[in-house]
């Protein structure tokens, strides 16, 4: 347990290291969730468009 805590503390640099890796993880999650949402919205709009096509000018 102590060894694990020592590893997490990273010799006093834990805050800087885990803030960096944490922000990367957060950014990846945000990007992937946003990408999934955008794709779902695009597919929904495409189906609506095909179901009820609007004549192009």
């Amino acid at each position: 347990m102590t060894a694990m805590l020592d590893w997490v503390r990273m010799d006093g640099y834990g805050f800087y290291i885990w803030s960096s890796y944490g922000m990367l993880a957060l950014a990846l999650v945000i990007e992937l969730v946003a990408l999934r949402g955008r794709r779902a919205a695009a597919q929904r709009r495409a189906r609506e468009l095909r179901a009820d096509p609007v004549p192009r000018a």
């Binding site: 990273m10 290291i17 960096s20 950014a27 990846l28 990007e31 990408l35 955008r38 695009a42 709009r45």
Partner: protein, 268 residues
Amino acid sequence: MTQFARTWYRYASPASFYPLAGRLVPVFAVLAVLLAVAGLYTGFVVAPTDWQQGEAYRIIFIHVPAAWMAMFIYLVMAFWSAISLSFRTRLSAMMAQALAPTGAMWAFISLWTGAFWGRPTWGAYWVWDARLTSTLILLFLYLGYMALRAAIDDPRRADRATALLALVGAINVPLIYFSVRWWNTLHQGATVSLTAAPKMAHTMLTGMLLMTLAAWCYTIAVALHRVRTIIIEREAATRWMADLDEDESDPEYQARGTSMPLAAKERQ
């Protein structure tokens, strides 16, 4: 026409590229996860503590790949933008558009991790150093690119305007890279060079390169996934998209392994 040119022209069509990208996304996603696990293991378990920076140096395993990716993605964006302007190919503009958010993410991570590395080593989260300032400009260029595209309703006009911005902004990339040589900066010079021996331990370098490859594979997977979404957004009214929708609801679609929708292929 050479085989390369034929393949190039074939996959310049969104209808041909869409299914190909769909097959490549899982390959690069799995590679990204495997390389990231190997890179993190090497970086946190195998690589020793740095004699000068202590454990704080472990931030470089994401800082350096993020900085490299941010610069490289912008150059790739500029390349696709140049192709788009020169040949008016729709897919080139879509590729540039698909890369921008991921490039912005890497630029932000590069600045964030640089700040958290700078505080324990330099004593400050931020200094108006040439390398840091030019990287901040790179982030603004990415954000400006996305804002400009969002501000123009007509996709073809947006393609041209953003392509010009990408090309003009590309001048910033060599400025970032050479800033540590051209100006007296606080930021250290290049640690890894193609022409000189690395200035770091072998295991540290291995961890950093594995993480760089993971970042590459992640970027390719995400960009391909996003370009498929952009194709849906922009080609929704086309016949091939309607055929594809029918094809994808067919359970045999994945097993067929066609490089384009079956219905579209049968029409050719």
